[in-house]
């Protein structure tokens, strides 16, 4: 299953995307074929020999013999677009040698890396060196935290209405130093402050409150040895360091997961794709994060609106949401699911309970039937919460809802509802950009 949105998301730039779309025509190809695992084609380029283009469907990895340094190249994109538009044309074919060789080489490489990892795991660890590395890293994190704590205390003493507390660039600068100190989670919190100073109309309330959250985190980190395991794991995750926890210890949940909402953002040349998954049977929410450094792109194997049968492993924490998929999962042929009858009141209760468990929580996802009504989104029970949207988004939601209740997925952060995706006559559509 390939969708144009998925392909668009992995295009390295607009020019490649356009060129790829233009190549999605049989006129440009000598041979095309495919099976369940891979699709291939011979692209007629300007050279004498046609280019050999291959795409592995599981992870949308491509290989092409063209000299382009873009990745994936336009031929790979073109082949995918063609397969998305006409899947039947890529269902049969005997793999030519240049395709099966590549697939075999990939499999061999994978085996080798698994074997390598096993070998590494089996090798006796140099305890002393590892301890030394960990101590060095922790030292750097501690230095960063001490610096941040002092800065926050100084600003609070001077007053959070002062010019230095309202300087977005200064917060951004602190964020960069936290990246250097290997505490990317703190960097994220500081960027949130920088955004608050720049864009939030309620900055007078929000800056102090969010600083309170940050300080709580720093304080808790200083006393981390007095907490239980879940709290320590949460603090570790909030700081953003590498998790030391054993993967197999994580809670595994098998379910049919509905890919309900996705937001893709770029900051400091790092692309982050955050996906909310809703388990149909477990009724649990899960957050799947993927990262890529520009100019790389993120290949999302699970398109928005699909339902995927998969096992997800939840990272430990105070209110576990973050997951890693266990294996590839496979998409089911399923329609957009009917919404559970959650109401806005129910969402507030769920949010309060989650916040009681995890005071660092920012936003919780929801999936319910809503209708836009001016500055509010209203539920079936006649209650409403404020929402924020650009004029374009508001118009789009108004057009889709037609004044009635429609299924919407979004986030609630304790202040406003932010819609991410919604249903339009049986089709699940994104309401936020799906490319950085």
């Amino acid at each position: 299953m390939l969708t144009p949105d998925q392909i668009t998301a992995i295009a390295p730039d607009a020019a490649s995307l356009k060129a790829g779309r233009d190549l999605a025509t049989p006129r440009k190809w000598q041979v095309t074929g495919g099976d369940a695992e891979v699709i291939w084609g011979l692209a007629m380029g300007s050279g004498k020999e046609p280019y050999q283009t291959r795409v592995a469907l599981a992870d949308l990895a491509t290989k092409c013999s063209c000299p382009s340094r873009k990745f994936p190249c336009k031929h790979g994109l073109g082949l995918m677009f063609m397969a998305a538009g006409n899947p039947a044309g890529f269902e049969t074919g005997e793999r030519p040698p240049w395709v099966s060789e590549w697939i075999d080489a990939r499999a061999a490489r994978e085996e080798k890396s698994v074997a390598g990892a096993e070998e590494k795991a089996a090798k006796p660890v140099d305890e002393k060196a590892a301890e030394k590395r960990r101590a060095k890293r922790e030292g750097r994190v501690e230095e960063g935290i001490a610096l941040l704590q002092q800065a926050v205390l100084d600003l609070t003493r001077e007053g959070l209405a002062s010019a230095s507390a309202r300087d977005a660039a200064a917060w951004e600068n602190l964020a960069r130093r936290m990246v250097d100190a290997q505490a990317p989670g703190l960097a994220g919190a500081l960027r949130h402050l920088s955004d608050t100073v720049l864009r939030d109309a309620a900055v007078d309330d929000e800056l102090p409150l969010e600083l309170g959250r940050l300080y709580l985190l720093l304080q808790a980190h200083a006393r981390r040895d007095t907490f239980d395991e879940a709290t320590r794991a949460e603090l570790q995750a909030q700081l953003g360091g590498r998790s030391t926890e054993d993967e197999s210890m994580r809670e595994a949940v098998e379910d049919d997961w509905f890919v309900a909402g996705r937001r893709v953002e770029e900051r400091d040349r790092l692309i982050t794709s955050g996906t909310w998954l809703y388990g149909k049977r477990s009724r649990r929410w899960a957050r799947l994060l993927r990262f890529a450094a520009v100019p790389q792109t993120i290949a999302e194997p699970w398109p928005l609106g699909a339902t995927v049968k998969a096992t997800l492993r939840f990272q430990a924490g105070l209110y576990p949401l973050r997951v890693m998929p266990d294996g590839e999962g496979f998409p089911l042929m399923a329609a957009v699911p009917a919404c559970d009858e959650e109401t806005l009141e129910g969402l507030l209760d769920r949010y309060a309970a989650a916040l009681a468990a995890n005071p660092f929580l920012r936003a919780l996802p929801f999936l319910m039937r809503l209708r836009p009504g001016g500055a509010f989104l209203c539920d079936a029970a006649g209650r409403a919460l404020p929402w924020t949207a650009s004029a374009d988004l508001a118009l789009k939601m108004e057009c889709i809802s037609g004044g009635g209740l429609v299924p919407v997925c979004g986030e609630w952060d304790g202040r406003t509802l932010r819609p991410l995706a919604m249903e339009d006559s049986g089709v699940w559509i994104p309401l936020v950009p799906q490319q950085p």
Partner: protein
């Protein structure tokens, strides 16, 4: 501005704070009172952390604002998702030239759009008048529903059926819709209503009335056009009013214009036009919109003559001079006034393109190798204006007849502007010009033009033309764009099963 004492204290700076304010809620008291106070800044920050959890978790819902009327259900089926995706690509700037054809096909398929594609289509149609009729058919009930809520889409209501009292109570768009409907069934009532309220209307609305009426003025419109619109303060009202009066058979205005022309231009022995230019400007002419002072570089008499000629629609000339239509423009003209006569004809054609005898006038225009700068309009745009009111078959018949007279780039430009496939059996000559240009790598075709030209290929000939293109040794950039557009068209056409 905040009212919370803790937040106010931290905004001012905790160096002035001696103690924490009391806990904002009893639920926080145990934790709040346990905060150590030796460092006021640290104490305030810890209290803020508690306050944040309280605020975030303590949000409450509001009473939902009353739901307005819900959008009525659509009677027609929704367009399939692949077709909707294709529309969104067109609206976002890929192959924009194909959009009108897509809209034509989609509305012919009797489907309506799902809500997600409405905003972009309506915004495009708000900018581009020509796609409005098809867009409003596709927008369905949902479009009307949204147009009643957003003033920028009010044009949708113009096409809609409105109530009897819309003229008195409606928005401007609904009043125009009333006018259009009433003119169709009871034009006398429409004319009376316009006359009755003329003085009360705003200038922009009077212009809108003229735009509506000038497309097909009727005898009953003469009174208000002559008595009110022709004397309006706005030139943008007076000019279309004059043009409209000139095409109402038997109107006093038209009679005056014809008599004036007859005074100064005659056909001698059915063999040539002879001009006796006016010696002086008659003050009475000014009431019909003639201007006495010529623009710089034009002689007075030539200027007056041109305006006198311009006020008579071209399709009235055969009757006035007793000539057949095909002879009219081939007759020798007074050598001293040859160009001024032609400039007057061009002006008359611009004012009433549907009354310009296009089949005979266009060949005359096409043969001009040197276009007069004083015409005020270039050759290509004028030809397009004259071709627009015609039926496709007539349009392509004319294009075929002049294809070889025009400069190839003008012919292609014209074809690209027409941007539609010729009906079966026509368009052969003009498509031959296109074929030559595609095979010639140096042909001056831009990429947007190439995309528009791809629309001139009939749907059933796309395959054949693509095969012909693939036989060419090397495609120019324009030919490549042409082929890509054709392929995209083919994929679009496959979304509409009913089309060939």
């Amino acid at each position: 501005m905040t009212t919370d004492p803790l937040i106010a204290a931290t905004l001012l700076g905790t160096s002035r704070m001696s103690a924490l304010p009391p806990a904002p809620d009893a639920a926080l008291e145990p934790a709040w009172n346990a905060i150590p106070l030796e460092n006021p800044a640290a104490a305030a920050l810890q209290a803020l952390g508690l306050l944040r959890a309280l605020r975030r978790a303590g949000a409450s819902t509001h009473e939902a604002p009353a739901a307005g009327d819900e959008c009525p259900a659509e009677e027609l089926p929704l367009l399939a998702p692949p077709a909707v995706d294709a529309l969104l690509r067109l609206l976002r700037g890929e192959f924009p030239e194909i959009l009108p054809e897509w809209l034509r096909l989609a509305s012919a398929a009797s489907c309506v759009l799902p809500g997600r594609a409405l905003p972009e289509l309506l915004q495009a149609a708000t900018r581009n008048q020509s796609i409005r009729p098809a867009s409003s058919r596709l927008a369905g009930q949902r479009g009307l529903w949204i147009a009643r809520r957003h003033a920028e889409f009010a044009w949708l209501l113009e096409e809609a059926v409105v109530a009897e009292d819309a003229w008195e109570t409606g928005q401007p768009a609904e009043r125009l819709a009333w006018l259009r409907q009433t003119r169709a069934v009871n034009p006398e009532l429409a004319a009376e209503t316009i006359a009755k309220d003329w003085a009360k209307e705003e200038g922009n609305f009077r212009e809108a009335i003229l735009r509506l009426v000038a497309a097909g003025p009727l005898a009953c419109d003469e009174a208000w056009l002559e008595g009110l619109a022709l004397k309006d303060r706005r030139q943008a009202v007076r000019d279309p009013a004059a043009a409209a009066l000139a095409v109402i058979e038997g109107s006093a205005f038209r009679q005056r214009a014809i008599e004036r022309l007859w005074t100064f231009v005659r056909v001698e022995r059915g063999a040539s036009f002879v001009v006796t230019p006016p010696a002086a400007f008659d003050a009475a002419w000014a009431a019909d919109g003639l201007k006495e002072k010529p623009p710089q570089g034009t002689g007075e008499k030539a200027w007056w003559l041109r305006q006198i000629v311009a006020l008579v629609p071209l399709d009235a000339l055969p009757g006035i001079f007793g000539l057949t239509e095909d002879k009219l423009f081939t007759l020798p003209r007074d050598p001293d006034w040859k160009d001024d006569l032609e400039l007057g004809w061009i002006d008359a054609a611009r004012a009433n393109p549907a009354h310009a005898l296009a089949a005979h006038f266009i060949p005359l225009l096409a043969k001009r190798s040197l276009w007069p700068l004083t015409a005020g309009i270039a050759q290509g745009p004028l030809l397009l204006l004259l071709l627009a009111p015609l039926a496709p078959a007539a349009r392509f018949a004319i294009l075929d007849s002049v294809a070889r007279d025009l400069q190839p780039y003008i012919a292609l430009d014209l074809l690209a502007s027409v941007a539609e496939a010729p009906p079966a059996g026509s368009g052969r000559a003009v498509l031959a010009v296109l074929d030559e240009a595609l095979a010639n790598p140096l042909a001056p075709i831009t990429r947007p033009q190439a995309r528009a030209l791809a629309l001139c290929v009939p749907a059933d000939a796309i395959q054949q033309r693509l095969e012909a293109l693939s036989q060419l040794p090397k495609l120019s950039t324009a030919a490549e764009e042409f082929a890509t557009t054709l392929e995209f068209r083919r994929s679009l056409l496959s979304n509409f099963a009913s089309s060939p």
